[in-house]
Protein backbone atom coordinates (compact mmCIF):
# COMPACT_ATOMS: atom_id res chain seq x y z
CA UNK A 1 0.00 0.00 0.00
CA UNK A 2 1.52 3.27 -1.01
CA UNK A 3 0.68 6.89 -0.47
CA UNK A 4 1.60 9.08 -3.41
CA UNK A 5 2.62 12.34 -1.82
CA UNK A 6 5.71 14.47 -1.76
CA UNK A 7 5.90 16.05 1.65
CA UNK A 8 6.70 19.70 1.98
CA UNK A 9 6.75 20.80 5.58
CA UNK A 10 6.05 24.38 6.62
CA UNK A 11 9.25 26.24 7.49
CA UNK A 12 8.37 26.45 11.19
CA UNK A 13 7.89 22.67 11.43
CA UNK A 14 11.18 22.06 9.65
CA UNK A 15 13.07 24.34 11.99
CA UNK A 16 11.40 22.74 15.01
CA UNK A 17 12.35 19.23 13.79
CA UNK A 18 15.93 20.31 13.15
CA UNK A 19 16.16 21.78 16.65
CA UNK A 20 14.76 18.64 18.29
CA UNK A 21 17.16 16.38 16.34
CA UNK A 22 20.09 18.69 17.11
CA UNK A 23 19.28 18.76 20.83
CA UNK A 24 18.98 14.99 20.88
CA UNK A 25 22.28 14.26 19.12
CA UNK A 26 24.35 17.24 20.27
CA UNK A 27 23.18 17.59 23.86
CA UNK A 28 21.05 14.75 25.25
CA UNK A 29 23.16 11.81 24.06
CA UNK A 30 26.64 13.23 24.74
CA UNK A 31 25.94 15.15 27.95
CA UNK A 32 22.80 13.86 29.67
CA UNK A 33 23.36 10.12 29.81
CA UNK A 34 25.96 8.06 31.70
CA UNK A 35 29.43 7.99 30.22
CA UNK A 36 29.55 4.30 29.27
CA UNK A 37 26.36 4.78 27.26
CA UNK A 38 27.96 7.61 25.29
CA UNK A 39 30.59 5.32 23.82
CA UNK A 40 27.88 2.74 23.15
CA UNK A 41 26.04 5.38 21.17
CA UNK A 42 29.25 6.07 19.27
CA UNK A 43 29.22 2.36 18.36
CA UNK A 44 25.57 2.73 17.31
CA UNK A 45 26.61 5.50 14.91
CA UNK A 46 29.38 3.30 13.54
CA UNK A 47 26.97 0.38 12.99
CA UNK A 48 24.57 2.83 11.36
CA UNK A 49 27.29 3.82 8.88
CA UNK A 50 27.90 0.18 7.98
CA UNK A 51 24.15 -0.47 7.72
CA UNK A 52 23.71 2.49 5.35
CA UNK A 53 26.31 0.70 3.21
CA UNK A 54 24.15 -2.45 3.28
CA UNK A 55 21.08 -0.35 2.42
CA UNK A 56 22.93 0.85 -0.67
CA UNK A 57 24.10 -2.51 -1.92
CA UNK A 58 21.26 -4.78 -0.78
CA UNK A 59 18.29 -2.42 -0.58
CA UNK A 60 18.94 -0.49 -3.77
CA UNK A 61 21.59 -2.56 -5.56
CA UNK A 62 19.57 -5.75 -5.00
CA UNK A 63 22.70 -7.73 -4.14
CA UNK A 64 22.34 -9.61 -0.86
CA UNK A 65 25.58 -9.48 1.09
CA UNK A 66 26.15 -11.40 4.31
CA UNK A 67 29.83 -10.54 4.54
CA UNK A 68 30.04 -6.88 5.45
CA UNK A 69 32.12 -7.61 8.55
CA UNK A 70 34.98 -8.44 6.17
CA UNK A 71 35.13 -4.81 5.06
CA UNK A 72 34.61 -3.57 8.61
CA UNK A 73 37.60 -5.73 9.54
CA UNK A 74 39.62 -4.27 6.67
CA UNK A 75 38.91 -0.74 7.89
CA UNK A 76 39.63 -1.62 11.52
CA UNK A 77 42.89 -3.37 10.77
CA UNK A 78 44.03 -0.58 8.42
CA UNK A 79 43.63 1.89 11.26
CA UNK A 80 45.13 -0.45 13.85
CA UNK A 81 48.18 -1.43 11.80
CA UNK A 82 48.94 2.10 10.63
CA UNK A 83 48.62 3.54 14.15
CA UNK A 84 50.35 0.77 16.07
CA UNK A 85 53.05 -0.34 13.64
CA UNK A 86 53.75 2.92 11.78
CA UNK A 87 52.79 5.54 14.35
CA UNK A 88 50.20 7.29 12.20
CA UNK A 89 47.72 9.79 13.56
CA UNK A 90 44.50 7.73 13.91
CA UNK A 91 42.35 10.28 12.06
CA UNK A 92 44.74 10.23 9.11
CA UNK A 93 44.04 6.49 8.76
CA UNK A 94 40.32 7.03 8.07
CA UNK A 95 40.79 8.10 4.42
CA UNK A 96 43.25 5.24 3.90
CA UNK A 97 40.74 2.75 5.36
CA UNK A 98 38.04 4.26 3.15
CA UNK A 99 40.21 4.02 0.02
CA UNK A 100 41.37 0.45 0.71
CA UNK A 101 37.88 -0.86 1.38
CA UNK A 102 36.59 0.98 -1.68
CA UNK A 103 39.20 -0.82 -3.79
CA UNK A 104 38.46 -4.16 -2.10
CA UNK A 105 34.75 -3.61 -2.71
CA UNK A 106 35.44 -2.85 -6.36
CA UNK A 107 37.44 -6.07 -6.68
CA UNK A 108 34.71 -8.14 -5.01
CA UNK A 109 31.97 -6.30 -6.87
CA UNK A 110 33.37 -7.67 -10.08
CA UNK A 111 32.68 -11.35 -9.31
CA UNK A 112 29.53 -10.28 -7.47
CA UNK A 113 28.15 -9.16 -10.81
CA UNK A 114 28.27 -12.65 -12.17
CA UNK A 115 26.71 -14.29 -9.14
CA UNK A 116 22.97 -14.67 -9.03
CA UNK A 117 21.37 -13.51 -5.80
CA UNK A 118 21.51 -16.67 -3.73
CA UNK A 119 25.08 -17.50 -4.72
CA UNK A 120 26.26 -14.03 -3.80
CA UNK A 121 24.73 -14.39 -0.35
CA UNK A 122 26.49 -17.74 -0.04
CA UNK A 123 29.85 -16.42 -1.27
CA UNK A 124 29.83 -13.40 1.02
CA UNK A 125 28.77 -15.56 3.97
CA UNK A 126 31.75 -17.84 3.34
CA UNK A 127 33.97 -14.78 2.93
CA UNK A 128 33.01 -13.54 6.36
CA UNK A 129 33.63 -16.96 7.92
CA UNK A 130 37.13 -16.92 6.39
CA UNK A 131 38.12 -13.54 7.80
CA UNK A 132 39.12 -14.45 11.41
CA UNK A 133 41.38 -17.41 10.42
CA UNK A 134 43.14 -15.25 7.82
CA UNK A 135 43.68 -12.47 10.36
CA UNK A 136 45.09 -15.01 12.82
CA UNK A 137 47.38 -16.55 10.22
CA UNK A 138 49.17 -13.27 9.40
CA UNK A 139 49.92 -12.64 13.05
CA UNK A 140 53.24 -10.89 12.40
CA UNK A 141 51.20 -8.09 10.91
CA UNK A 142 47.85 -8.28 12.66
CA UNK A 143 48.95 -9.33 16.14
CA UNK A 144 47.22 -12.71 15.75
CA UNK A 145 44.78 -13.87 18.40
CA UNK A 146 45.99 -11.22 20.87
CA UNK A 147 44.95 -8.46 18.48
CA UNK A 148 46.33 -4.94 18.44
CA UNK A 149 45.96 -2.25 21.04
CA UNK A 150 44.97 0.93 19.25
CA UNK A 151 43.98 2.97 22.29
CA UNK A 152 41.22 5.58 22.38
CA UNK A 153 42.32 8.80 20.69
CA UNK A 154 42.48 11.62 23.25
CA UNK A 155 40.51 14.82 22.62
CA UNK A 156 42.59 17.91 21.77
CA UNK A 157 43.68 19.79 24.92
CA UNK A 158 41.56 22.82 24.10
CA UNK A 159 38.32 20.80 23.94
CA UNK A 160 36.58 20.24 27.29
CA UNK A 161 35.30 16.73 26.48
CA UNK A 162 36.24 13.32 27.79
CA UNK A 163 37.37 10.49 25.52
CA UNK A 164 33.96 8.92 24.89
CA UNK A 165 32.29 12.27 24.22
CA UNK A 166 35.09 13.21 21.84
CA UNK A 167 34.92 9.98 19.82
CA UNK A 168 31.14 10.27 19.83
CA UNK A 169 31.33 13.70 18.20
CA UNK A 170 33.95 12.50 15.69
CA UNK A 171 31.70 9.55 14.76
CA UNK A 172 28.65 11.82 14.63
CA UNK A 173 30.37 14.24 12.24
CA UNK A 174 31.52 11.45 9.92
CA UNK A 175 28.17 9.63 10.11
CA UNK A 176 26.35 12.87 9.25
CA UNK A 177 28.56 13.47 6.21
CA UNK A 178 28.18 9.89 4.98
CA UNK A 179 24.41 10.02 5.56
CA UNK A 180 24.09 13.15 3.45
CA UNK A 181 26.27 11.57 0.73
CA UNK A 182 24.03 8.49 0.69
CA UNK A 183 20.95 10.72 0.54
CA UNK A 184 22.44 12.54 -2.45
CA UNK A 185 23.30 9.26 -4.18
CA UNK A 186 19.76 8.06 -3.63
CA UNK A 187 18.02 11.13 -4.98
CA UNK A 188 17.73 11.87 -8.63
CA UNK A 189 18.74 9.82 -11.66
CA UNK A 190 21.13 7.46 -9.89
CA UNK A 191 18.37 6.17 -7.64
CA UNK A 192 16.07 5.57 -10.56
CA UNK A 193 18.82 3.73 -12.41
CA UNK A 194 19.53 1.56 -9.34
CA UNK A 195 15.89 0.72 -8.68
CA UNK A 196 15.31 -0.04 -12.35
CA UNK A 197 18.34 -2.33 -12.54
CA UNK A 198 17.24 -4.05 -9.34
CA UNK A 199 13.62 -4.61 -10.31
CA UNK A 200 13.96 -5.34 -14.01
CA UNK A 201 17.38 -5.69 -15.57
CA UNK A 202 16.04 -5.93 -19.08
CA UNK A 203 14.05 -2.73 -18.92
CA UNK A 204 16.96 -0.97 -17.25
CA UNK A 205 19.34 -2.08 -19.98
CA UNK A 206 16.93 -0.87 -22.66
CA UNK A 207 16.81 2.52 -20.93
CA UNK A 208 20.59 2.72 -21.12
CA UNK A 209 21.53 1.74 -17.57
CA UNK A 210 24.97 0.14 -17.49
CA UNK A 211 24.19 -2.46 -14.87
CA UNK A 212 27.71 -3.85 -14.63
CA UNK A 213 29.25 -0.52 -13.81
CA UNK A 214 26.43 0.50 -11.54
CA UNK A 215 26.52 -2.69 -9.44
CA UNK A 216 30.29 -2.65 -9.10
CA UNK A 217 30.25 1.00 -8.09
CA UNK A 218 27.48 0.37 -5.55
CA UNK A 219 29.43 -2.50 -4.08
CA UNK A 220 32.57 -0.37 -3.84
CA UNK A 221 30.66 2.48 -2.23
CA UNK A 222 29.00 0.22 0.29
CA UNK A 223 32.38 -1.31 1.20
CA UNK A 224 33.74 2.19 1.71
CA UNK A 225 30.99 2.79 4.25
CA UNK A 226 31.88 -0.45 6.02
CA UNK A 227 35.59 0.42 5.96
CA UNK A 228 35.06 3.85 7.51
CA UNK A 229 32.81 2.24 10.11
CA UNK A 230 35.59 -0.26 10.87
CA UNK A 231 38.17 2.48 11.23
CA UNK A 232 36.00 4.35 13.74
CA UNK A 233 35.13 1.10 15.51
CA UNK A 234 38.84 0.45 16.17
CA UNK A 235 39.13 3.90 17.78
CA UNK A 236 36.00 3.52 19.92
CA UNK A 237 36.88 0.08 21.24
CA UNK A 238 40.58 0.93 21.32
CA UNK A 239 41.41 -2.64 20.43
CA UNK A 240 41.03 -4.98 17.46
CA UNK A 241 41.08 -8.77 17.50
CA UNK A 242 40.19 -11.33 14.81
CA UNK A 243 37.19 -12.85 16.56
CA UNK A 244 35.39 -9.51 16.74
CA UNK A 245 34.88 -9.67 13.00
CA UNK A 246 33.33 -13.11 12.92
CA UNK A 247 30.30 -14.22 11.02
CA UNK A 248 28.07 -13.01 13.87
CA UNK A 249 29.06 -9.41 13.14
CA UNK A 250 28.16 -9.80 9.46
CA UNK A 251 24.84 -11.36 10.35
CA UNK A 252 24.10 -8.72 13.02
CA UNK A 253 24.65 -5.96 10.49
CA UNK A 254 22.32 -7.77 8.12
CA UNK A 255 19.73 -8.15 10.89
CA UNK A 256 20.09 -4.45 11.67
CA UNK A 257 19.59 -3.53 8.03
CA UNK A 258 16.45 -5.66 7.71
CA UNK A 259 14.92 -4.64 11.04
CA UNK A 260 15.62 -0.96 10.37
CA UNK A 261 14.29 -1.27 6.84
CA UNK A 262 16.44 -2.43 3.97
CA UNK A 263 15.69 0.62 1.83
CA UNK A 264 15.34 3.10 4.67
CA UNK A 265 18.43 5.21 5.42
CA UNK A 266 16.90 6.70 8.57
CA UNK A 267 16.04 3.16 9.62
CA UNK A 268 19.78 2.42 9.69
CA UNK A 269 20.05 4.23 13.02
CA UNK A 270 17.14 2.23 14.47
CA UNK A 271 18.65 -1.01 13.18
CA UNK A 272 22.00 -0.03 14.67
CA UNK A 273 20.37 0.66 18.07
CA UNK A 274 18.71 -2.74 17.82
CA UNK A 275 21.93 -4.69 17.22
CA UNK A 276 23.88 -2.68 19.79
CA UNK A 277 21.47 -2.74 22.73
CA UNK A 278 19.29 -5.83 22.31
CA UNK A 279 22.14 -8.37 22.72
CA UNK A 280 23.30 -6.52 25.86
CA UNK A 281 19.85 -6.61 27.42
CA UNK A 282 19.25 -10.16 26.28
CA UNK A 283 22.54 -11.50 27.63
CA UNK A 284 21.62 -10.11 31.05
CA UNK A 285 18.85 -12.70 31.06
CA UNK A 286 20.57 -15.59 29.27
CA UNK A 287 23.73 -15.88 27.12
CA UNK A 288 21.92 -17.59 24.30
CA UNK A 289 18.93 -15.26 24.23
CA UNK A 290 20.65 -12.74 21.93
CA UNK A 291 20.71 -15.08 18.94
CA UNK A 292 17.15 -16.24 19.54
CA UNK A 293 15.94 -12.64 19.67
CA UNK A 294 17.92 -11.76 16.52
CA UNK A 295 16.60 -14.73 14.61
CA UNK A 296 13.06 -14.16 15.84
CA UNK A 297 13.20 -10.43 15.10
CA UNK A 298 14.45 -11.08 11.58
CA UNK A 299 11.62 -13.48 10.78
CA UNK A 300 8.94 -11.41 12.54
CA UNK A 301 10.01 -8.18 10.84
CA UNK A 302 9.70 -9.81 7.44
CA UNK A 303 6.30 -11.28 8.23
CA UNK A 304 4.79 -8.24 9.95
CA UNK A 305 6.55 -5.18 8.48
CA UNK A 306 8.60 -6.14 5.41
CA UNK A 307 9.67 -2.52 4.97
CA UNK A 308 11.29 -2.56 8.41
CA UNK A 309 10.78 -0.14 11.28
CA UNK A 310 12.25 2.75 9.31
CA UNK A 311 10.10 1.97 6.28
CA UNK A 312 7.00 1.85 8.48
CA UNK A 313 7.89 5.20 10.07
CA UNK A 314 8.44 6.74 6.64
CA UNK A 315 5.04 5.51 5.51
CA UNK A 316 3.32 6.96 8.57
CA UNK A 317 5.19 10.20 8.03
CA UNK A 318 3.99 10.43 4.44
CA UNK A 319 0.45 9.62 5.50
CA UNK A 320 0.55 12.25 8.22
CA UNK A 321 1.83 14.81 5.71
CA UNK A 322 -1.00 13.93 3.36
CA UNK A 323 -3.55 14.27 6.17
CA UNK A 324 -2.13 17.64 7.22
CA UNK A 325 -1.94 18.92 3.65
CA UNK A 326 1.82 19.38 3.79
CA UNK A 327 2.40 18.13 0.27
CA UNK A 328 3.54 19.19 -3.14
CA UNK A 329 1.36 18.28 -6.06
CA UNK A 330 2.47 14.77 -6.98
CA UNK A 331 4.42 15.00 -10.18
CA UNK A 332 4.70 11.87 -12.31
CA UNK A 333 8.25 11.30 -11.22
CA UNK A 334 7.43 11.49 -7.54
CA UNK A 335 4.54 9.13 -8.03
CA UNK A 336 7.00 6.53 -9.26
CA UNK A 337 9.30 7.45 -6.43
CA UNK A 338 6.75 6.99 -3.69
CA UNK A 339 5.38 3.80 -5.14
CA UNK A 340 8.83 2.21 -5.23
CA UNK A 341 9.29 3.30 -1.65
CA UNK A 342 6.00 1.69 -0.73
CA UNK A 343 6.42 -1.40 -2.82
CA UNK A 344 9.90 -1.94 -1.41
CA UNK A 345 11.40 -5.21 -2.41
CA UNK A 346 8.20 -7.05 -3.12
CA UNK A 347 8.61 -6.57 -6.84
CA UNK A 348 11.86 -8.55 -7.04
Amino acid sequence: MSVVVKPRLPVAVRIATAIVVAILFLYVIPFMIPNYLVSQFATVLVFAIAIVGINLVTGYGGAITLGHAAFVALGSYTTAILTVRYGWNPYATIPVAAALSWIAGWCLGFPALRLQGLYLALGTLVLSITVPPVLKRFDAFTGGVQGLNVGNPAPPASVPLDESQWIYFVSLAIAAVLYVVARRILSGPLRRALVAARDNQLVAAVMGVNRARLTTATFAMSSLYAGVAGSLYAMIVGFVSPDTFNVMMSLSLFVGAVVGGITSLSGAFIGAMFIQFVPIWASDIDVSLGGLVFGGALILTLVLIPAGVGGLAERWYLRACARLGWTEAAATETAIEASTRGAQHEAT
Binding site: I64, L122, G123, V134, F254, S288, I299, L302, T348
Partner: protein, 293 residues
Protein backbone atom coordinates in the same frame (compact mmCIF):
# COMPACT_ATOMS: atom_id res chain seq x y z
CA UNK B 1 53.98 -42.24 0.08
CA UNK B 2 52.26 -43.68 3.15
CA UNK B 3 51.60 -40.13 4.32
CA UNK B 4 50.07 -39.34 0.96
CA UNK B 5 47.88 -42.45 1.00
CA UNK B 6 46.77 -41.72 4.54
CA UNK B 7 45.94 -38.13 3.68
CA UNK B 8 43.99 -39.38 0.70
CA UNK B 9 41.97 -41.81 2.83
CA UNK B 10 41.39 -39.20 5.54
CA UNK B 11 40.36 -36.81 2.82
CA UNK B 12 37.86 -39.36 1.53
CA UNK B 13 36.38 -39.80 5.01
CA UNK B 14 36.07 -36.03 5.52
CA UNK B 15 34.78 -35.83 1.98
CA UNK B 16 32.11 -38.42 2.73
CA UNK B 17 30.83 -36.25 5.58
CA UNK B 18 30.88 -33.12 3.39
CA UNK B 19 29.14 -35.11 0.68
CA UNK B 20 26.27 -36.10 2.96
CA UNK B 21 25.76 -32.49 4.09
CA UNK B 22 26.18 -31.23 0.52
CA UNK B 23 23.57 -33.77 -0.56
CA UNK B 24 21.25 -32.36 2.07
CA UNK B 25 21.77 -28.89 0.55
CA UNK B 26 21.19 -30.29 -2.93
CA UNK B 27 17.96 -32.05 -1.94
CA UNK B 28 16.42 -28.91 -0.52
CA UNK B 29 17.72 -26.86 -3.44
CA UNK B 30 16.38 -29.23 -6.07
CA UNK B 31 12.97 -29.46 -4.51
CA UNK B 32 12.42 -25.79 -3.71
CA UNK B 33 15.23 -23.72 -5.23
CA UNK B 34 16.41 -22.64 -1.79
CA UNK B 35 19.92 -22.92 -0.42
CA UNK B 36 19.25 -23.83 3.18
CA UNK B 37 21.72 -21.73 5.16
CA UNK B 38 20.44 -23.34 8.35
CA UNK B 39 21.24 -26.90 7.20
CA UNK B 40 24.41 -27.05 9.28
CA UNK B 41 22.65 -25.87 12.42
CA UNK B 42 19.91 -28.45 11.92
CA UNK B 43 22.60 -31.13 11.68
CA UNK B 44 24.17 -29.81 14.87
CA UNK B 45 20.82 -30.07 16.67
CA UNK B 46 20.45 -33.65 15.43
CA UNK B 47 23.84 -34.51 16.93
CA UNK B 48 22.70 -32.96 20.22
CA UNK B 49 19.48 -34.99 20.14
CA UNK B 50 21.58 -38.14 19.77
CA UNK B 51 23.66 -37.08 22.75
CA UNK B 52 20.51 -36.34 24.76
CA UNK B 53 18.99 -39.74 23.95
CA UNK B 54 22.21 -41.38 25.11
CA UNK B 55 22.18 -39.31 28.27
CA UNK B 56 18.69 -40.74 28.86
CA UNK B 57 20.17 -44.22 28.65
CA UNK B 58 19.83 -45.39 25.06
CA UNK B 59 22.78 -47.10 23.37
CA UNK B 60 24.53 -45.12 20.64
CA UNK B 61 23.20 -46.77 17.50
CA UNK B 62 19.48 -46.71 18.39
CA UNK B 63 19.95 -43.13 19.61
CA UNK B 64 21.52 -42.15 16.30
CA UNK B 65 18.76 -43.87 14.31
CA UNK B 66 15.99 -42.25 16.36
CA UNK B 67 17.68 -38.89 15.96
CA UNK B 68 17.83 -39.35 12.18
CA UNK B 69 14.13 -40.26 12.07
CA UNK B 70 13.26 -37.26 14.26
CA UNK B 71 15.33 -35.07 11.94
CA UNK B 72 13.38 -36.36 8.97
CA UNK B 73 10.15 -35.32 10.69
CA UNK B 74 11.62 -31.97 11.73
CA UNK B 75 12.79 -31.28 8.18
CA UNK B 76 9.33 -32.07 6.81
CA UNK B 77 7.72 -29.85 9.46
CA UNK B 78 10.16 -27.04 8.63
CA UNK B 79 9.14 -27.27 5.01
CA UNK B 80 5.45 -27.23 5.79
CA UNK B 81 5.61 -24.41 8.35
CA UNK B 82 8.25 -22.02 7.02
CA UNK B 83 9.53 -22.90 3.56
CA UNK B 84 6.25 -23.58 1.77
CA UNK B 85 4.71 -20.20 2.65
CA UNK B 86 7.88 -18.63 1.21
CA UNK B 87 7.54 -20.18 -2.22
CA UNK B 88 6.53 -16.88 -3.83
CA UNK B 89 8.48 -14.55 -1.54
CA UNK B 90 11.34 -12.38 -2.71
CA UNK B 91 14.89 -13.63 -2.47
CA UNK B 92 15.71 -11.18 0.30
CA UNK B 93 12.85 -12.53 2.40
CA UNK B 94 13.93 -16.13 1.83
CA UNK B 95 17.56 -15.42 2.73
CA UNK B 96 16.54 -13.40 5.78
CA UNK B 97 14.22 -16.10 7.10
CA UNK B 98 16.89 -18.78 6.69
CA UNK B 99 19.49 -16.59 8.39
CA UNK B 100 16.97 -15.95 11.15
CA UNK B 101 16.49 -19.68 11.48
CA UNK B 102 20.25 -20.21 11.56
CA UNK B 103 20.68 -17.70 14.39
CA UNK B 104 17.69 -19.02 16.31
CA UNK B 105 18.68 -22.70 16.05
CA UNK B 106 22.25 -21.93 17.06
CA UNK B 107 21.06 -20.10 20.16
CA UNK B 108 18.49 -22.76 20.89
CA UNK B 109 21.27 -25.35 21.14
CA UNK B 110 23.22 -23.01 23.42
CA UNK B 111 20.10 -22.46 25.50
CA UNK B 112 19.18 -26.13 25.86
CA UNK B 113 22.63 -27.69 26.16
CA UNK B 114 24.90 -24.71 27.10
CA UNK B 115 28.07 -23.74 25.28
CA UNK B 116 30.43 -26.14 27.05
CA UNK B 117 31.68 -28.85 24.74
CA UNK B 118 30.37 -32.40 25.10
CA UNK B 119 31.72 -35.67 23.81
CA UNK B 120 29.59 -37.77 21.48
CA UNK B 121 31.14 -41.23 21.15
CA UNK B 122 32.11 -42.46 17.73
CA UNK B 123 29.93 -45.03 15.99
CA UNK B 124 33.04 -47.09 15.29
CA UNK B 125 35.55 -48.90 17.53
CA UNK B 126 38.96 -47.37 18.15
CA UNK B 127 40.77 -49.92 16.01
CA UNK B 128 43.02 -49.85 13.00
CA UNK B 129 42.59 -51.88 9.87
CA UNK B 130 45.89 -53.06 8.44
CA UNK B 131 45.79 -52.96 4.66
CA UNK B 132 49.18 -53.98 3.31
CA UNK B 133 51.70 -51.30 4.20
CA UNK B 134 49.37 -48.67 5.64
CA UNK B 135 46.74 -48.72 8.31
CA UNK B 136 43.34 -47.05 8.26
CA UNK B 137 41.43 -46.22 11.41
CA UNK B 138 38.12 -48.03 11.78
CA UNK B 139 36.41 -44.65 12.04
CA UNK B 140 37.73 -43.50 8.67
CA UNK B 141 36.77 -46.74 6.96
CA UNK B 142 33.43 -46.80 8.78
CA UNK B 143 32.47 -43.28 7.74
CA UNK B 144 33.23 -44.05 4.10
CA UNK B 145 31.24 -47.30 4.33
CA UNK B 146 28.20 -45.76 6.05
CA UNK B 147 27.97 -42.87 3.63
CA UNK B 148 28.50 -45.28 0.74
CA UNK B 149 25.61 -47.49 1.88
CA UNK B 150 23.34 -44.48 2.39
CA UNK B 151 24.16 -43.24 -1.10
CA UNK B 152 23.36 -46.66 -2.52
CA UNK B 153 20.01 -46.71 -0.69
CA UNK B 154 19.20 -43.24 -2.00
CA UNK B 155 20.12 -44.34 -5.50
CA UNK B 156 17.82 -47.34 -5.21
CA UNK B 157 15.05 -45.13 -3.81
CA UNK B 158 15.24 -42.71 -6.70
CA UNK B 159 15.87 -45.16 -9.53
CA UNK B 160 13.74 -48.16 -8.63
CA UNK B 161 10.77 -47.04 -6.55
CA UNK B 162 7.61 -45.23 -7.51
CA UNK B 163 8.07 -42.65 -4.77
CA UNK B 164 11.54 -41.90 -6.10
CA UNK B 165 10.22 -41.40 -9.60
CA UNK B 166 7.46 -39.13 -8.30
CA UNK B 167 10.01 -37.12 -6.33
CA UNK B 168 12.22 -36.65 -9.36
CA UNK B 169 9.20 -35.60 -11.38
CA UNK B 170 8.04 -33.14 -8.73
CA UNK B 171 11.51 -31.58 -8.60
CA UNK B 172 12.14 -31.31 -12.32
CA UNK B 173 8.73 -30.44 -13.80
CA UNK B 174 6.17 -29.80 -11.06
CA UNK B 175 3.40 -28.81 -13.48
CA UNK B 176 3.60 -32.04 -15.46
CA UNK B 177 3.95 -34.05 -12.26
CA UNK B 178 0.64 -32.68 -10.99
CA UNK B 179 -1.02 -33.71 -14.23
CA UNK B 180 0.01 -37.35 -13.80
CA UNK B 181 -1.34 -37.37 -10.27
CA UNK B 182 1.76 -36.73 -8.21
CA UNK B 183 1.13 -34.71 -5.06
CA UNK B 184 3.96 -32.21 -5.44
CA UNK B 185 3.80 -30.71 -1.93
CA UNK B 186 4.07 -34.17 -0.36
CA UNK B 187 7.09 -34.97 -2.53
CA UNK B 188 8.78 -31.70 -1.58
CA UNK B 189 7.98 -32.48 2.05
CA UNK B 190 9.75 -35.82 1.70
CA UNK B 191 12.65 -34.08 -0.08
CA UNK B 192 13.16 -31.72 2.87
CA UNK B 193 12.81 -34.63 5.27
CA UNK B 194 15.52 -36.60 3.47
CA UNK B 195 17.70 -33.48 3.45
CA UNK B 196 17.36 -33.10 7.21
CA UNK B 197 18.03 -36.82 7.75
CA UNK B 198 21.20 -36.64 5.62
CA UNK B 199 22.26 -33.56 7.54
CA UNK B 200 21.68 -35.45 10.79
CA UNK B 201 23.90 -38.27 9.53
CA UNK B 202 26.71 -35.83 8.77
CA UNK B 203 26.29 -34.20 12.19
CA UNK B 204 26.45 -37.54 14.00
CA UNK B 205 29.49 -38.62 11.98
CA UNK B 206 31.41 -35.39 12.48
CA UNK B 207 30.57 -34.74 16.15
CA UNK B 208 33.11 -37.25 17.56
CA UNK B 209 35.84 -35.57 15.48
CA UNK B 210 35.19 -31.95 16.42
CA UNK B 211 33.35 -32.40 19.76
CA UNK B 212 29.76 -31.46 20.31
CA UNK B 213 29.23 -27.71 20.62
CA UNK B 214 26.84 -25.19 19.07
CA UNK B 215 29.46 -23.91 16.62
CA UNK B 216 30.67 -27.33 15.53
CA UNK B 217 29.11 -27.20 12.06
CA UNK B 218 30.57 -23.81 11.05
CA UNK B 219 33.66 -25.46 9.60
CA UNK B 220 31.74 -28.34 8.03
CA UNK B 221 28.96 -26.34 6.37
CA UNK B 222 31.53 -24.17 4.59
CA UNK B 223 33.07 -27.23 2.92
CA UNK B 224 29.61 -28.58 2.18
CA UNK B 225 28.75 -25.28 0.47
CA UNK B 226 31.99 -25.60 -1.49
CA UNK B 227 31.15 -29.21 -2.41
CA UNK B 228 27.63 -28.38 -3.55
CA UNK B 229 28.86 -25.37 -5.52
CA UNK B 230 31.66 -27.35 -7.13
CA UNK B 231 29.36 -30.22 -8.08
CA UNK B 232 26.48 -28.00 -9.11
CA UNK B 233 23.66 -27.16 -6.74
CA UNK B 234 21.08 -29.21 -8.61
CA UNK B 235 23.19 -32.33 -9.11
CA UNK B 236 23.11 -35.32 -6.74
CA UNK B 237 26.16 -36.91 -8.36
CA UNK B 238 27.86 -33.52 -8.26
CA UNK B 239 27.36 -33.20 -4.51
CA UNK B 240 29.00 -36.57 -3.88
CA UNK B 241 31.91 -36.01 -6.26
CA UNK B 242 32.25 -32.42 -5.03
CA UNK B 243 32.25 -33.54 -1.40
CA UNK B 244 34.94 -36.15 -1.94
CA UNK B 245 37.06 -33.74 -4.02
CA UNK B 246 36.77 -30.99 -1.42
CA UNK B 247 37.71 -33.42 1.36
CA UNK B 248 40.79 -34.64 -0.51
CA UNK B 249 41.94 -31.20 -1.68
CA UNK B 250 41.44 -29.75 1.79
CA UNK B 251 43.55 -32.49 3.42
CA UNK B 252 46.31 -32.42 0.81
CA UNK B 253 46.56 -28.63 0.84
CA UNK B 254 46.65 -28.59 4.63
CA UNK B 255 49.49 -31.14 4.62
CA UNK B 256 51.62 -30.25 1.64
CA UNK B 257 51.42 -26.48 1.39
CA UNK B 258 53.05 -25.25 4.60
CA UNK B 259 52.16 -21.64 3.83
CA UNK B 260 48.49 -22.55 4.22
CA UNK B 261 48.78 -25.29 6.83
CA UNK B 262 45.90 -26.61 8.91
CA UNK B 263 44.88 -23.15 10.19
CA UNK B 264 44.18 -21.61 6.84
CA UNK B 265 42.65 -24.66 5.13
CA UNK B 266 39.32 -22.89 5.23
CA UNK B 267 40.54 -20.62 2.45
CA UNK B 268 40.36 -23.68 0.17
CA UNK B 269 36.58 -23.52 0.48
CA UNK B 270 36.50 -19.81 -0.32
CA UNK B 271 38.73 -20.22 -3.37
CA UNK B 272 36.74 -23.24 -4.60
CA UNK B 273 33.42 -21.44 -4.23
CA UNK B 274 34.44 -18.20 -5.91
CA UNK B 275 36.50 -20.07 -8.52
CA UNK B 276 33.59 -22.34 -9.47
CA UNK B 277 31.07 -19.53 -9.51
CA UNK B 278 33.28 -17.41 -11.76
CA UNK B 279 34.53 -20.06 -14.16
CA UNK B 280 31.65 -22.52 -14.31
CA UNK B 281 28.73 -21.11 -12.31
CA UNK B 282 26.60 -24.23 -12.74
CA UNK B 283 29.28 -26.48 -11.27
CA UNK B 284 30.84 -29.60 -12.72
CA UNK B 285 27.61 -31.59 -13.03
CA UNK B 286 24.95 -28.90 -12.78
CA UNK B 287 22.38 -28.31 -15.46
CA UNK B 288 22.89 -25.07 -17.40
CA UNK B 289 20.31 -22.48 -16.52
CA UNK B 290 18.46 -21.23 -19.54
CA UNK B 291 16.33 -18.14 -19.20
CA UNK B 292 13.53 -17.23 -21.56
CA UNK B 293 13.52 -13.49 -22.16
Amino acid sequence: MTLFANQLIDGLADGAIYASLALALVFSYRSTGIVNFAQGEMAMLSAYVTWQLMAWGLPLIPAALISIVLSFIAGALLYASIVKPLSHASLLTVVSVLIGLYLALNSLAGFLWTYTIKALPSLFPKAHLQLGSFSVSAETAGIIAVVGVVLLLLYLLFETTKVGLAMRGAASTPDSAVLVGVSVPVMLLIGWGIAAALGALSGILVAPKVFLNPTMMFGVIIYAFAAATLGGFDSVVGAVVGGLLVGIVENLVGTYIPWIGPDLKIIVALVLIFGTLLIKPDGLFGRKKVVRL
